[in-house]
């Protein structure tokens, strides 16, 4: 392809792409903290901005020594297991898979013909991603991604779709059904492309093609 079909697309700056606000709780992974101590850790983070400072480590150590000593004193029989033996105590807070997470997976895929990512070109948009989660994890959940080609006759829409599909299939648990559609009215041959994108046989066949897979790999190489 000697000439790009769409030479001058609108470009969003990398820093302006929607992103998840940094969760301060992530920095604190000590699960033995009680509410009061957790609040204090948050105060420390707000004031000092990092867990890598002496005062934070100091407090961490005090908490740890005290909890350890309490734990070892409570144990009467030698036990190799963790302090809390009750199964019910073991409960991690769950971060659900949401649209932002899907967006983060695919927004950094490179466009096949521009040195830019799909997020920067607004081919994928946060608002066009939908996660239909079933509470029961044994049932099939669904992810719908609608892509907007930069121009209505974009011949690479199928390739972009394939790249997104490969990325999602590699990154999502198998209980998700992945649907990739063109956004309504964004392409001249919308139905054909949609059909092609969600045809299992065709996708499988495409993935057998080494050359095509190479192109996809190159697109995925910029993923973060």
């Amino acid at each position: 392809m000697s000439e790009f079909i769409n030479e001058n697309p609108d470009i969003l700056d990398e820093s302006l792409l929607p992103s998840r606000l940094e969760d301060k709780n992530d920095a604190i992974w000590d699960k033995n903290l009680n509410v009061g101590n957790l609040q204090r850790r948050l105060h420390l983070l707000n004031i000092h901005q990092t867990t890598d400072c002496k005062v934070y480590r100091n407090i961490e150590l005090v908490d740890k020594l005290l909890s350890q000593r309490t734990a070892s004193n409570n144990l009467h029989t030698p036990d190799l297991t963790d302090a809390e033996t009750e199964e019910s105590e073991y409960e991690e807070a769950e971060d659900p898979i949401d649209a932002q997470e899907i967006y983060d997976m695919i927004a950094h895929i490179s466009d096949p013909e521009h040195p830019l990512t799909l997020g920067q070109l607004a081919v994928v948009n946060l608002s066009d991603i939908e996660v239909r989660e079933k509470c029961d994890k044994t049932k099939i959940s669904e992810v719908v991604v609608k892509i907007t080609p930069t121009i209505t006759h974009c011949s690479l829409a199928t390739l972009i779709g394939l790249g997104i599909r490969v990325r999602l299939e590699r990154s999502l648990p198998s209980r998700y059904r992945i649907n990739i559609l063109l956004k309504e009215g964004s392409h001249q041959s919308e139905n054909q492309v949609n059909k092609q994108l969600n045809d299992k046989e065709r996708v499988a066949a495409a993935c057998e093609n080494d050359q095509l897979l190479g192109v996809v790999s190159k697109m995925l190489s910029t993923c973060k």
């Binding site: 204090r40 004031i47 030698p78 190799l80 963790d82 073991y90 983060d104 190479g214």
Partner: protein, 1019 residues
């Protein structure tokens, strides 16, 4: 010929030189200088040498003649300058000149002549005889570069020795210049060009009568402009592109006579498309402007301006857009502006009228830009570049510009405000430049009245309106205002104190109330910059304000200032950020925060706010230790210590584990930096206070924490009744049925560690500790004492550790003993080593390495000797606790022996142990993957198993296991890993559905690397 140097010897030497000149230069020179020394000692006459060489010199063979002449030239080069008589010189010169038509030997001939010219007895009446053949009979293009080099060298030597004679004699002058022009024509070799350029600038710089040669001289120079040269790989002359460029630039700018040609040609070159050429042109133009002086500039400023104007207005890198993308070591935009400044400086130096003409022309041309808001940035840059020469130019330009700026200042929309600020900005920079030299020490000193000062009120209005009058979301405008305000503060003598304090208040308010990151940082920078010169103003109007805000009680929540709520956390954060290492600010903050702690601690409900204040105080001290020199520490001690001690006894601090620890550490910092001479008295006071008055050694008290930290601060050579303290402490902890909280117990154990580390002798410890008593209480005491001992590498520690390892085999208490192993290597802040303070604790640099070297082999052996799984598990736990706190670089060499244990440890039902074992494996993968490679097949299933979300696979276990799997792809050879590729991809599927997002993220990354494993790289 003298006896000592016979003809045979001379013959032998001459043959040796001839043989070597072509092949081994250094050897030839060595023998040549030997012969030369014989001549200078009078043992040999030059004639004899020539006779000796005669046969070779007249030989019909080219090479022989060449080598012989070369030998002669080399020997001449080695002769001292005053040895040859007048007669010798003229004979040998005639000899060489007679040979001039022997073109195959010209290089040697010129070499010889160049040496003769340096002889003392070469006189100026002989110059013509040398120059004439060079001018008439020598065709530079027909000879090699090396030959041409000697021609230049001759000219250089002549000019060096006979400059005054040439100056006196017009004919000689003309002959010399003509010879030079003929010799320099068509030169291409870099070494020769370098000397040619230097000669050219010497000629035009020192000789008088060159005006009718000026065009020829200039042409021999400018035909090389712009010069580029890439030195070959093994360049013997080490000439760089810059050397040539600089030499050419100097030559072009060496004489004002070149003025007309130089400016004309340079302006032409500005139309070049290559940025490198343009840059060279700009720099050369600047050199010319500076050298040629005002009159020449006045004649030529118009075309120069037009050329520059185009570059500045239309130049490619106006926005600095390609500054980031490629590494360009020059900036044509900036350099063009610098040329303008240079031009402006010359013109004002020449006469004011000249500058006015220049200024009026440019200003009239730029004026429409201001009306139509076009190319404003460039226009302002031009004007400011012109203005920053001195106060006169500054005044003149500013009086033109400011009127334009402020004519309709009252109804500005946001965009216009921004533009105006940006426009002013470049003139602020010019101001700083102009007035800096006047008084570079004191910003607050008076500067002469100036135009910008007349508009001070308007400018301040504009900026404060931009900052305060705009809505919260106008971040760009606000940021811009803050940046400009900071510039105003930096401008020498511009603002008076009241104005600075106003700005400080604005900045403080903004930094506290606005949440934008950029704005935060510019305000912070502004405050820091201000405190460099206006420290006390900043203390008064910023620091004190912030400390006042902290006064409002009512927990951690929001504090009210005016209408807006300001978070105490934010105040403290700002406080920490901007005090960094400014002496006065730090000390004032410490005192202020202490005051707040003292006040707040009186209120029971203020534990949370005390915690925040204390953590801030701790960091203030910790991160600014370099300014806590003795007298500062002494001053702090006298102002804050009593208050801190009083506060420590208040309930909100005393009964709070964190707060009491932090306040004790704060006291530690203050005391550790005080003068050693006071320590003994302080120790006595502490003992009195805690042991005698509070009786901490008789009933358990929380205040022992304060005692521990204070003791750890003081000099270890001071006297202390350590035996009494240790035995009382051991007794107290050993008391049956004692009512003691965990915090207290920990504090007493730490006290033991500090005492054994700093004061207690091993002998006494042996008597007081009961190693036979296996109650866990007693073992804890021993463990903590062992820590103190281990840190000073005491042999007693080895003994105790051995005992504890033995106890690991005890099924009843083994697991509890195992957890004690963590204590040995854990970093306890109380036993930290403070930089620059040798007297505080005994911390041997390599104690962990020694400890690990002692413990690990014993554990491995014991592990191998038992079959009981429970006991084995105890060893694993102990090992993992030690590993967890020992840096990887220490453990990595021992890993091969430990690996079997580690593989078992990751299957133990304890998440801590699993995590610690995994961390060690991960460190090994990174640092010494060769140890891991052969275990990959057994590790992979284990690691995949650890990804399952079970009770013992905690978040960190899963994350670390994933990290190891991903790191394999970087460190393990492909042929080991490829067979597992599909298994791993399938196995990783579990973690794709992990509850924690970070685990999923890492898993996606890891999986992606395995998908690409072994794939042929695309394109």
């Amino acid at each position: 010929m003298s006896q000592s140097y016979s003809t045979q010897m001379l013959n032998a030497d001459v043959i040796s030189v001839i043989a070597n000149v072509a092949a081994n230069e250094s050897k030839a020179i060595e023998v040549a200088s030997h012969i030369a020394s014989k001549i200078s000692d009078g043992e040999l006459k030059l004639v004899e040498l020539v006779i000796c060489l005669r046969d070779f010199i007249i030989s019909p063979d080219h090479t022989e003649r060449k080598n012989a002449l070369c030998s002669l030239s080399v020997i001449l080069g080695q002769l001292p300058k005053q040895i040859l008589s007048k007669n010798d010189v003229s004979v040998i010169l005639d000899f060489y000149l007679g040979k001039f038509d022997d073109t195959s030997c010209l290089e040697e001939i010129l070499h010889g002549i160049s040496s003769i010219i340096e002889m003392k007895c070469f006189y100026c009446n002989q110059i013509a005889s040398v120059l004439n053949p060079l001018k008439d009979d020598y065709q530079p293009t027909q000879h090699l570069a090396a030959t041409r080099y000697y021609a230049f060298l001759i000219l250089d030597h002549v000019l060096e020795r006979f400059q005054t004679d040439i100056l006196k004699n017009v004919n000689m002058n003309n002959l010399f210049v003509e010879t030079f022009l003929s010799v320099a024509a068509g030169e291409k070799d870099p070494r020769n060009l370098l000397i040619s350029f230097q000669l050219n600038s010497k000629i035009s710089g020192t000789l008088n009568e060159i005006s009718h040669f000026k065009e020829d001289l200039f042409d021999t120079l400018f035909c090389y402009f712009p010069i580029t040269f890439k030195p070959p790989k093994n360049d013997p002359y080490k000439i760089s592109n810059d050397d040539l460029k600089l030499a050419l630039r100097n030559a072009i700018s060496s004489n004002v006579l070149y003025e007309e040609d130089a400016f004309g040609n340079l302006v032409d070159k500005m139309t070049a498309s290559s940025p490198t050429v343009k840059n060279d042109t700009l720099l050369t133009m600047k050199a010319c402007i500076e050298k040629f002086g005002g009159e020449a500039c006045f004649k030529n400023w118009m075309p120069i301006w037009n050329a520059l104007k185009f570059e500045i207005m239309q130049g490619s890198d106006v926005d600095g857009s390609n500054a980031g993308s490629t590494l360009i070591e020059f900036d044509n935009y900036e350099d063009s502006l610098r040329v303008l400044t240079a031009l402006s400086a010359q013109l004002i130096g020449y006469k004011e009228g000249a500058f006015d003409k220049f200024r009026n022309h440019i200003f009239d041309e730029l004026k429409p830009n201001f009306r139509y808001e076009k190319d404003l940035k460039q226009s302002c840059a031009v004007l400011s570049a012109m203005s920053k020469v001195n106060t006169v130019t500054f005044e003149k330009i500013l009086s033109d510009v400011l009127v334009l700026f402020f004519q309709d200042v009252n109804d500005l929309n946001l965009n216009k405000q921004k533009l105006l600020m940006l426009n002013l900005s470049s003139f602020f920079d010019a101001y700083i430049e102009v007035f800096r030299e006047n008084n570079n020490t004191q910003v607050s000193k008076k500067v002469p009245g100036n135009k910008l000062a007349e508009y001070k009120d308007e400018i301040l209005m504009l900026l404060s309106k931009g900052l305060k009058g705009s809505s919260e979301s106008e971040v760009t405008l606000k940021t811009l205002s803050v940046v400009q305000m900071t510039k105003l503060v930096k401008m020498p003598g511009y603002l008076i104190e009241e104005e600075v304090s106003l700005i400080v208040q604005y900045l403080t308010e903004t930094i506290l109330t606005n949440d934008n990151k950029n704005l935060y940082f510019v305000c912070l920078e502004g405050l820091k910059a201000t405190s460099e010169t206006w420290e006390s103003t900043v203390v008064e109007y910023s620091l004190d304000q912030m400390l006042d805000l902290l006064k409002n009680k009512g927990l951690s929540a929001s504090l009210l200032s005016g209408k807006e709520a300001i978070n105490a956390e934010k105040v403290l954060k700002v406080l920490l950020d901007f005090t960094s290492s400014r002496h006065k600010l730090v000390v004032e903050s410490i005192i202020g925060v202490t005051e707040r702690i003292f006040e707040n601690s009186k209120d029971r409900g203020e534990a949370e706010s005390c915690f925040m204040l204390l953590s801030c105080l701790y960091s203030l001290l910790d991160s600014n230790q370099e300014i806590l020199v003795e007298d500062v520490a002494a001053k702090l001690k006298s102002t804050v210590e009593a208050k801190l001690l009083a506060a420590a006894m208040e309930e909100s601090i005393y009964n709070d584990d964190h707060n009491l620890t932090l306040i004790s550490s704060v006291l530690f910092f203050i005391n550790v930096h005080t003068s050693r001479s006071t320590h003994q008295a302080e120790i006595n006071r502490c003992q009195h206070m805690f042991v005698k008055d509070s009786k901490v050694m008789e009933i358990p008290k929380r205040s022992v924490m304060l005692f521990v930290k204070l003791l750890s601060a003081f000099d270890k050579t001071c006297k202390l009744d350590v035996e009494n303290l240790v035995s009382k402490c051991v007794n107290l902890l050993g008391t049956q049925g004692l009512e003691i909280s965990e915090f207290e117990k920990l504090s007493y154990l730490e006290l033991l560690a500090v005492l054994t580390n700093k004061w207690c002798s091993d002998e006494f410890l042996k008597t007081v500790l009961d190693i036979e008593n296996c109650s866990i209480n007693n073992l804890q005491i021993i463990a903590w004492c062992t820590k103190g001992l281990a840190m000073k590498n005491s042999p007693l520690a080895v003994k105790f550790i051995k005992e504890l390892i033995r106890l690991l085999a005890d099924v009843a208490i083994g697991s509890q003993v195992a957890s004690l192993f963590e204590i040995f290597v854990m970093d306890i802040p109380t036993l930290d080593r403070i930089k620059g303070i040798p007297w505080d604790n005994n911390v041997m640099l390599l104690y962990k390495q020694k400890l690990f070297g002692d413990v690990a082999p014993q554990l491995v052996i014991a592990y191998g000797e038992t079959d009981d799984m429970l006991v084995k598990a105890n060893y694993l736990m102990a090992l993992s606790y030690v590993l967890k706190n020992t840096p990887n670089r220490i453990t990595v060499n021992y890993i091969p022996k430990l690996l079997a244990l580690l593989l078992q440890a990751v299957t133990l039902d304890n998440s801590e142990v699993r995590f610690s074992a995994l961390s060690t494996i991960r460190g090994t993968v990174e640092q010494a993957p060769q140890f891991i490679t052969e275990h990959v097949h057994s590790l992979i299933p284990l690691l995949i198993d650890l990804l399952r979300p079970t009770k013992h696979n905690s978040y960190m276990v899963r994350l670390t296991a994933l990290g190891i799997l991903r790191d394999f792809t970087e460190h393990v050879p492909l042929n080991y890993l490829l067979p597992f590729k599909d298994d791993i991809i399938a196995g990783l599927g579990v973690a794709l559905d992990d509850k924690k997002r970070n685990v999923r993220k890492l898993c996606t990354d890891a999986r992606q690397t395995y998908f690409e494993l072994g794939q042929v790289p695309f394109d």
